[in-house]
Symmetry: D2
Subunit: 144 residues, 4 copies
């Protein structure tokens, strides 16, 4: 198995363990060192009171994309937990799907800082709808 | 109808229009001027890779509690949209349910700043698991 | 020396080492476990383009108040560094002085989360002008 | 006068009115539509307790760079005020000087979102030391 495949397997395994990702209908996209894409097709189950994607849906895939990007660089026996993040909403989140692209800005021994760009795809147009700055922490995976 | 009932009706109506609130199983709790509670019972559909509440689930009800708290103070013909927020995760979010309590710090003509405390309830214990600081904007409701 | 005096000495010593605190004319106020006050008298050297306190001045004493609040709870051989913070500006910062009150929300082994309230004092009135949420990290003090 | 000169004059004029910029010894660098650089030479007056640039100094020029970047795109009779920002510190801020580069991510009618990269320059090396995400608001300039 190539390194790229090992990386994807690591992220896909963790993605598939996330009940919320499956419940929302999110799908893992491209995975490379320090960068992860997540896609979220529109559904009426993901909306706020005006029928747009709910900020919580946008944020959920953004947090996951940033966290998984950090996980691609974490030691093999470590997992990643979100310490905090901040997100700005740039435009109404409407369209056929959202895409969150998380990439690591700085991977430290303990803390990792990532940035996540979130886009809406509508009728072939890609529009930036949100921007996240996130801090995660590496932790030894627990034997559950 | 009392003012309190009118306030609750306004928030409940908007809550019920939010597909994501229903899809996650969230319930509207207490509503008063400048303050809104939202409850989220645990479900395996709300978890991250370790089986805890996903940061995205915690964040979604926090964003909604803060936004609805702002809506209790917004002019009758206005709705509220999230401009941005920041959230810190204080402790692992595990237990029977989460509760988000949003309260307005400052309601301006255009922008409102709210703070949201998020608690986990487990075996009769209430633990603070996250803290959000949020900016929302009042907008004339669109005739859709 | 009482514990309270020891605590104050620890914070005052670090405060006096901060060239920027002195350059801005900031003064250390009350110090107790998990809580620190910092005062900043107005000066034309602290203004933005409209003559109000510059957001950078407000932020500087807020960051220091939160960091020193965290330091009151840190192990004796550790210092505290800012990981990140977020600040909302609630009202124009005008008056005779600013006061930043930092208090620890959660002190962990590695990371501490603090909140800082910043007030302007003008003609006997105290107005909340900013609100900060901050993450700091405990680090072994270096032998320099 | 060319447009570029007019733009620089607008920003330089506002920069020179900021008492804090001068007090810290900051200098305005390159100015173009939606992008502003600010430089801050090291001084013992800018340090925290370990002798590095204080987070408050880093943040002050970052806030100014983002705000002035927003101002380059604001209507002629408007000024710009900071609504809020979030900053992550990526590495110790040491060296001969800091440079903050603010660029606008989205300029709306009312709100502008900017991102600011802050670098330290030491012995010919340029290191990213902080990253800011900022929201500003356009306001009609007051007749003072």
């Amino acid at each position: 198995m190539t390194d790229t495949n090992a990386l994807r397997t690591r992220i896909q395994t963790n993605f598939d363990r996330s009940g919320l990702m499956l419940h929302l209908g999110a799908r893992l996209g491209e995975v490379s060192r320090g960068r992860v894409h997540i896609h979220l097709p529109f559904s009426p189950s993901l909306t706020q009171h005006l029928g747009l994607f709910h900020a919580g849906a946008t944020t959920t895939i953004a947090d996951a994309a940033g966290g998984f990007a950090a996980l691609t660089l974490a030691p093999a026996d470590h997992t990643v937990l979100t310490v905090e993040f901040k997100i700005n909403f740039l435009a109404p989140a409407r369209g056929e799907s959202l895409e969150a692209v998380g990439h690591v800005i700085r991977a430290g021994h303990t803390l990792t800082i990532s940035q996540v760009d979130i886009f809406a795809l509508q009728a072939g147009q890609k529009t930036a709808v949100a921007l996240m700055q996130q801090t995660t922490i590496n932790q030894l995976e627990r034997q559950a």
